[in-house]
């Protein structure tokens, strides 16, 4: 392999890794924006700035380093989230807060622009072109009130911008439905449990009924395929039974199974014991003679019936 090929491969690998790092950034949304901050949360410097909240809608961690924030569609790379800061890794269903202080030298979470009413805030992918999400800031957004997005669907995945300005909740999920667990929802909608019971029983029956139908069909197909062969086998077996000896197919199957399972002395002993048994020479008097004893019918918990003990 030439040096050029190796270098190209390494370059391609690096490029893929950088894309992979941000490939889940599509799961991010701008979940809340506050423009005029008078008495809301203060930043690390004790200043009250507007802020932008980013929410990870997925169940995996997303690293948004290298992505961009902007309030100007003509300038998509206005503020790049610095790379190399571990804090840019956002856990599942977690939020990150950017202070729109206009002083990006203060750290990763300070943008180089401030927010204005009537503008739109964009979250741009690390390619500098693809818009991941955006949020419009109303002209009449009051001070200390935010514009936010919340999900009201069962999976809490379909986020919509709320019509009315809301009380800011920086750093936590938005919307009243977010706080409701499945249990509390069921408690409210189905306090006696009958709906859930009937639904669940139907689903269990459906799941197993589908398997029943599929495997009935597969079984018929399987039987149809081997139709003639099976009849011959059955007649062969009957003939063999009349003779008092196993037919060739059964013998081959037993031999194959024994060989595959482990082979060796154990199964040689079993084969010898079976031979003695079939010949009617089983006895229990002398030493060093293999004997098969009939089971006298044991209890359900007898050692001999334990299914967990595997043949070795």
């Amino acid at each position: 392999m030439s040096k050029r090929t190796i270098l190209s491969f390494i370059a391609a690998l690096s490029a893929s890794i950088s894309v992979l790092n941000a490939q889940n950034a599509v799961d991010l949304i701008i979940s809340e924006v506050l423009v005029e901050n008078r008495e809301n949360i203060a930043d690390d410097y004790g200043e009250h700035n507007g802020w932008i909240e980013i929410f990870n809608t997925s169940q995996g961690t997303v690293n948004f380093a290298g992505c961009f924030l902007t309030d100007d569609p003509g300038q998509p790379k206005k503020y790049m989230v610095p790379k190399g800061d571990l804090a840019t890794k956002l856990g599942p269903r977690q939020t990150a807060l950017f202070y729109a202080s206009g002083k990006s030298e203060r750290g990763t979470f300070h943008t180089n622009f401030t927010l204005k009413r009537g503008s739109t805030v964009y979250l741009i992918s690390n390619d500098g072109r693809t818009v991941i999400d955006s949020i419009d800031i109303p002209e009449d957004l009051p001070a200390d009130m935010s514009v936010s997005k919340a999900a009201f669907d069962a999976k809490e995945m379909d986020f919509v911008t709320l019509d009315e300005p809301s009380t800011p909740t920086p750093g936590s999920k938005n919307g009243s439905s977010s706080a409701e667990t499945g249990s509390s929802r069921i408690q409210r909608t189905d306090p006696h449990g009958w709906v859930l019971t009937l639904t669940s029983v139907s689903v269990v029956f459906c799941a197993l009924a589908i398997l029943w139908i599929i495997f009935t069909y597969i079984g018929k197909l399987s039987a149809g395929k081997g139709g003639k062969g099976r009849t011959e086998t059955a007649s062969g077996k009957a003939k063999a039974r009349r003779k008092g000896a196993p037919d060739a197919e059964t013998a081959a199957a037993i031999a194959l199974a024994l060989d595959r399972e482990c082979g060796g002395e154990t199964y040689a002993a079993i084969a010898a014991a079976l031979h003695l048994y079939l010949e009617g020479t089983v006895h229990d008097e002398e030493s060093f003679v293999i004997t098969i004893k009939r089971s006298e019918g044991s209890g359900w918990n007898a050692k001999g019936q334990t299914f967990r003990r595997l043949p070795r």
Binding site: T181, S183, Q187, A207, L208, L211, I218, G219, W300, N301
Partner: protein, 380 residues
């Protein structure tokens, strides 16, 4: 001299004797009881011995703050317990169960799958009762799963829905699984007539290797598409079975059903036992959970048997099902199928029901995993 006495007095404060309360003694006695039953009666010894000893470990009175308790972050027991809390162990056990389960009986008689579904009424019956007794829906769901008679599933679901009740639920599930013959037999006899118990079923057809290989693949895809929340359990169950049936992964199947399941069973047993610390376990709720657990087994057995009786009303002569295999829909593999065999032979010594009963039995495993997925989807 006084220094020595002071040191001894201080040491005494560290000992279990100084910190012992009557609840600890009760729990240690229960643990000893489990071990005794497991050894003398051989009732679920692989589980009751680790759980019983775990109970003793978890209830040794100790001085708090030594970072050795199961609920103290970073302790050895706490780290092992994460497999239960986070639900890692049950899917691994299901992998082993899949690798040791032969689904032939089910594939050859697919109609018997419905019995496995009917017996899951035990889960939902207990869920309704638990709600009526004032439990929250998530707690009721976790308690209901005891009726699935499947320890790993019960641990998996309760760790997700009601972690605080998990110790009581797990111990209850395993205890009643051990008592399956005692619980099921009288219900089966009560609900069936002598004539019904004599029904002989035709010998199941032979199942080809191809069908056995297709089953875990189709079975998994269908059930997982219907209940994706049951993915960890269903995925591992069918994957384990594919390892067994494919014929080309014998080593993996051997490991899954041998060393792997043994290790995980040991860890799950001892940590679940350990989690039953007296202050968290000996509560009124635990007693109610034990009561509801028993009822769930009763309901599951009764609905399984009654469902077969109902089916027989529409089935033609010669295709009727012996209702004694109805109890096997309770997925305590293979104990409930064994009970069908024993009770069946009591009525007709020549009537062997074991192979037939294994079909609803393994269907019950699938059914309880599906039911757990549904409950997790709704209540999680």
């Amino acid at each position: 001299m006084s220094q020595i006495i002071d040191s001894l007095r201080q040491f005494w404060q560290f000992t279990g004797f100084a910190n012992c309360e009557w609840q600890n003694i009760v729990m240690i006695l229960i643990g000893a009881c489990f071990i005794t039953i497991a050894i003398l009666k051989e009732w679920e010894p692989l589980l009751l011995v680790p759980i019983g000893f775990g109970m003793i470990i978890g209830n040794i009175p100790m001085f708090p703050g030594l970072n050795i308790g199961i609920y103290e972050d970073g302790s050895v027991m706490n780290i092992l317990y994460q497999g239960v809390r986070q639900g890692w162990y049950p899917p691994l056990i299901f992998l082993g169960i899949g690798a040791m389960t032969d689904f032939s009986a089910l594939i050859s008689q697919p109609r018997l799958m419905l019995i496995g579904a009917a017996a899951q009424m035990g889960i939902f019956g207990a869920y309704l009762l638990a709600l009526a007794f004032g439990f929250a829906p998530n707690e009721a769901g976790a308690i209901g799963i005891i009726g699935g008679a499947d320890g790993p599933t019960a641990i998996f679901l309760s760790s997700k829905l009601a972690p605080d009740l998990m110790g009581a639920i797990a111990v209850s599930a395993y205890s009643y699984m051990a008592l399956v013959p005692v619980i099921q037999r009288p219900i089966m006899l009560l609900l069936t007539t002598k004539k019904e118990r004599l029904i002989e079923m035709p010998k199941p057809r032979e199942v080809s290797q191809r069908e056995k290989i297709i089953f875990p693949i189709i079975g998994f895809i269908m059930t997982a598409f219907i209940v994706p929340s049951g993915l960890p359990l269903l995925g591992m169950l069918f994957f384990g079975n594919l390892l067994k049936e494919s014929g080309v992964t014998r080593r993996l199947a051997e490991t899954a059903r041998g060393p792997l399941i043994d290790i995980v069973t040991t860890l799950i047993g001892v940590t679940v036992g350990c989690s039953t610390q007296a202050d968290k376990f000996l509560t009124g709720k635990s007693l109610m959970i034990f009561g509801l657990g028993l009822l769930s087994f009763v309901i599951a057995t009764a609905t399984g048997v009654c469902f077969v009786k109902l089916l027989n009303l529409v089935l033609p002569h010669g295709k009727k099902i012996n209702p004694l295999i109805g109890n096997a829909g309770v997925s305590a593999v293979p104990d409930s199928a064994r009970v069908s065999e024993i009770v069946g032979r009591e009525s007709n010594p020549k009537n062997h029901l074991l192979m037939h009963a294994m079909a609803p039995n393994v269907a019950g495993v699938i059914g309880s995993a599906v039911a757990a997925g549904i409950l997790l989807g709704f209540l999680g």
